[in-house]
Each structure stands twice: as structure tokens, then as C-alpha cells.
């Protein structure tokens, strides 16, 4: 058995362990692992340089439907930022440096509707916790004996739900020592797609009729609702989603400036309570 095989088996084990632990997302992972990925075989000379691996990663942006969803979402974020009074440069900076759709929308909607910096920061902090387990589960897939922590900083930055899902689909077909370069390529490709989508959305919101402007702004809630709904597998996730939607209008009556935080913590805690009650029963 070659070293390559060992790595492969290790990756498969990591992926299946991860599925077992992170059930809410595994539905998405399974759906996508059905589709074949057009990458060179593991022993191909195509993988000899990191630069080539980077290019293969960037090319893989074109072979996932999630790119389309991401494009629509960032088209909407561009339009949302425009209509909330932010500059295009600000919008692009938020995509490049935050690189998490939900956090960007929270910043835009809260700051745009007059919340303080501290209130926005708290809401973003809580919403971004989900990135922690994603990073924790993705990094072991590309570590080798020579990997230093600093080699993984950019991978950690690029990790968000889309990349997280795609890692499980693509990485088993990428030699382990080229995985970091491949993910850099894939992640940078996705960021570029989103920057372009931002710019188009921003320009469209500035120039379009109210009819099409409303249509573009509607992309964001629709894309987020369905991608979140798809990631739900446990009852707790479903309850959190449904209650989170229903409690927001109630919390908004308080007009506290942290309405999203109030409804989110209330709905999430109730959902967790149901999860506990079922576990005990």
C-alpha cells in the first residue's frame, strides 16, 4: 500500500467521521457527493506543482451549483448595500475581509437601520460561531507532517459554508500535499465570483427600475432561507429556523436595536430545550 493510499483512506475516514458528528450539514454533503467531479487522477503529473493545483481549484468553481446560489446571494448583498447607503468599495471590502454572507447582511441591515457598532458586533459574533466547528473539521483534511499553522491561515479565512461543503466532495480526489493550494484556488475563485456579483448587484440597484431592484433585493432572503432549510436535519435546527422567523416580528415590537439578537437567542434556546427534552425522554 502506497503513502497515497494511506492518505486517501485517512481522508475518507475524516469525512465519514465528520458526517457522523455534524449531522445538520450531512444532507447537503450527500447530495453533492453523488455528482462526479472532473479532476485529474491522483497520480497525474497535473498535480506536480502547487500552482497547477491552485488552477484546478479555481477551475472547480465552475463545476458546482452552489456557485450559482452564491452568485445570486452576493448579487442581492450588493443591491442591499447600495440601498442601505454603503459605498461600492465598502461592499467589496466586506466581501473580501468578512467572507460570510450572514455576517455581511447583519452588518448592513443593523448599521443601515441605526444600530450601534457594539450591537452589530454582538450580533455578528453570535452568528459567526458556526464558522468555528467548520474550521475545526476542515483543517485536518489538508494537514500533512510539514504543515505549519501559518500555512492554514488563508484556508481558515476562506472557510464558509460553501467551501466547507465542497471540501468533502473535492478533496478525496486531490493529493494530500496539494490540497492547501487547491483550496486556495477554489476559495479565491469563489471570492472573485462574489466580488463580481457584488459589483453587478450594486450597479443594478443604482440603475434599475423599482420592479427589478425589488427582485434583486429579494434574492438574499430567498437564497438564505432555502440553503438554511436544506442544512436542517435535526429537529432542533428546524425549530430554530421556524421560531427564528416567527419571533423576529415580535422582538421587533420591542425596538431594542438588538431585535435579531433577542429573537435569535430566544428561538435558539427554545429549540435547544426541545432537543434536550427529547434526549431525556
Amino acid at each position: 500500500m502506497t503513502a497515497g493510499h494511506c492518505h486517501d483512506i485517512a481522508a475518507l475516514c475524516a469525512a465519514s467521521l465528520d458526517r457522523a458528528f455534524r449531522q445538520p450539514y450531512s444532507a447537503t454533503v450527500q447530495t453533492h457527493s453523488d455528482t462526479p467531479v472532473a479532476l485529474p487522477p491522483l497520480d497525474s503529473p497535473q498535480w506536480q506543482t502547487s500552482f497547477r493545483a491552485f488552477l484546478w481549484g479555481a477551475r472547480s468553481v465552475g463545476s458546482t451549483v452552489l456557485t450559482l446560489v452564491l452568485f445570486a446571494t452576493y448579487l442581492g448583498i450588493g443591491a442591499l448595500a447600495h440601498d442601505s447607503g454603503f459605498s461600492l468599495g465598502w461592499t467589496l471590502a466586506s466581501t473580501a475581509f468578512v467572507w460570510a454572507g450572514p455576517a455581511q447582511i447583519i452588518v448592513i441591515t443593523t448599521l443601515g437601520s441605526g444600530a450601534t457598532i457594539v450591537q452589530s458586533a454582538i450580533a455578528v459574533t453570535v452568528s459567526a460561531v458556526r464558522l468555528f466547528p467548520m474550521v475545526v473539521s476542515v483543517l485536518p483534511m489538508m494537514r500533512t507532517d510539514e504543515t505549519k499553522r501559518r500555512h492554514l491561515i488563508l484556508v481558515a479565512h476562506l472557510t464558509a459554508v460553501t467551501l466547507w461543503v465542497e471540501c468533502f466532495r473535492f478533496l478525496p480526489q486531490v493529493p494530500r500535499n496539494r490540497r492547501i493550494a487547491f483550496i486556495h484556488g477554489l476559495g479565491c475563485g469563489l471570492v472573485c465570483v462574489c466580488l463580481i456579483a457584488n459589483t453587478i448587484g450594486y450597479a443594478l440597484a443604482a440603475n434599475l427600475s423599482q420592479l427589478l431592484g425589488a427582485g434583486i433585493l429579494m434574492l438574499t432572503p430567498l437564497a438564505f432561507l432555502f440553503s438554511t432549510a436544506r442544512n436542517c436535519r435535526e429537529l432542533a435546527d428546524v425549530i430554530a429556523l421556524v421560531l427564528g422567523l416567527l419571533l423576529f416580528p415580535v422582538a421587533a415590537l420591542l425596538n431594542s436595536g438588538v431585535d435579531i439578537l433577542v429573537s435569535g437567542i430566544a428561538a435558539g434556546t427554545i429549540a435547544y430545550g426541545v432537543h434536550r427534552a427529547r434526549a431525556v425522554a
Binding site: F97, F226, S227, L247, I265
Partner: protein, 114 residues
């Protein structure tokens, strides 16, 4: 160029309110990743709260719409979400089909109202 950046204050606010609170979790994952039990009860609660916050954000855009979306009547925005969700479920959870259906409803409805 100045209209591209806007004011620098807004950019500073972006870093304090958006970039740092978000990146902190990725960097914590990078530093302490090894020793956390992913099935722990704390993470289940955290994930539920994070999902509910995201749901709140979705609700906020639909209930208190920004910009051009505010020109669409309430019932039409809610109708578009419901129709999109119905198609999403019927299409075996295709995000794409759901988004297209919701968009068709809101664009056709708004066009029809004028």
C-alpha cells in the same frame, strides 16, 4: 475614487463590527481546533442560536424591507416567500428552483400591480 470608498469612518466601522467579530471564530478554530468535542451540548445550543439569528435576518429583510423592496406590498413579499418555499419542498429541496419561483411571484406580482 472617493465615491468608490465613501468615507473612511464607515470602513473602520466595518472592521470593528463585521470583520473582527467574524474572523475571531475562524482563528480560534485554527488555534484550538484539536481539543473541542464537536458533539458537545454547548455547540448544539450555539448552532441553534446561530440558525435562529440567521432566520431573524431573513425575517428582517422581508418584514422591514430596505430600499426598492419597500415598494412591494407586504402580502406580495410574504406570498413570494411562501410560494418559493412550496416549490423548494416540491423540488426535493432545490435551492435554485425555490429562488426562481419566489422571484417569479414577486416580479409578476409587482408588474401586475404596477
Amino acid at each position: 475614487m472617493s465615491s468608490f470608498i465613501g468615507d473612511w469612518h464607515a470602513l473602520a466601522v466595518l472592521f470593528v463590527a463585521g470583520v473582527i467579530p467574524n474572523q475571531i471564530w475562524r482563528m480560534l478554530g485554527l488555534w484550538f481546533g484539536g481539543g473541542i468535542d464537536e458533539g458537545s451540548e454547548l455547540l448544539v445550543w450555539v448552532r441553534a442560536v446561530a440558525t435562529a439569528i440567521l432566520a431573524g435576518v431573513i425575517a428582517q429583510i422581508v418584514v422591514q424591507p430596505p430600499g426598492a423592496l419597500a415598494s412591494v406590498p407586504d402580502w406580495l413579499r410574504y406570498g413570494a416567500v411562501v410560494a418559493g418555499f412550496a416549490v423548494f419542498m416540491l423540488s426535493r429541496k432545490s435551492i435554485f428552483a425555490g429562488v426562481i419561483a419566489g422571484e417569479i411571484v414577486i416580479l409578476a406580482g409587482k408588474y401586475w400591480i404596477g
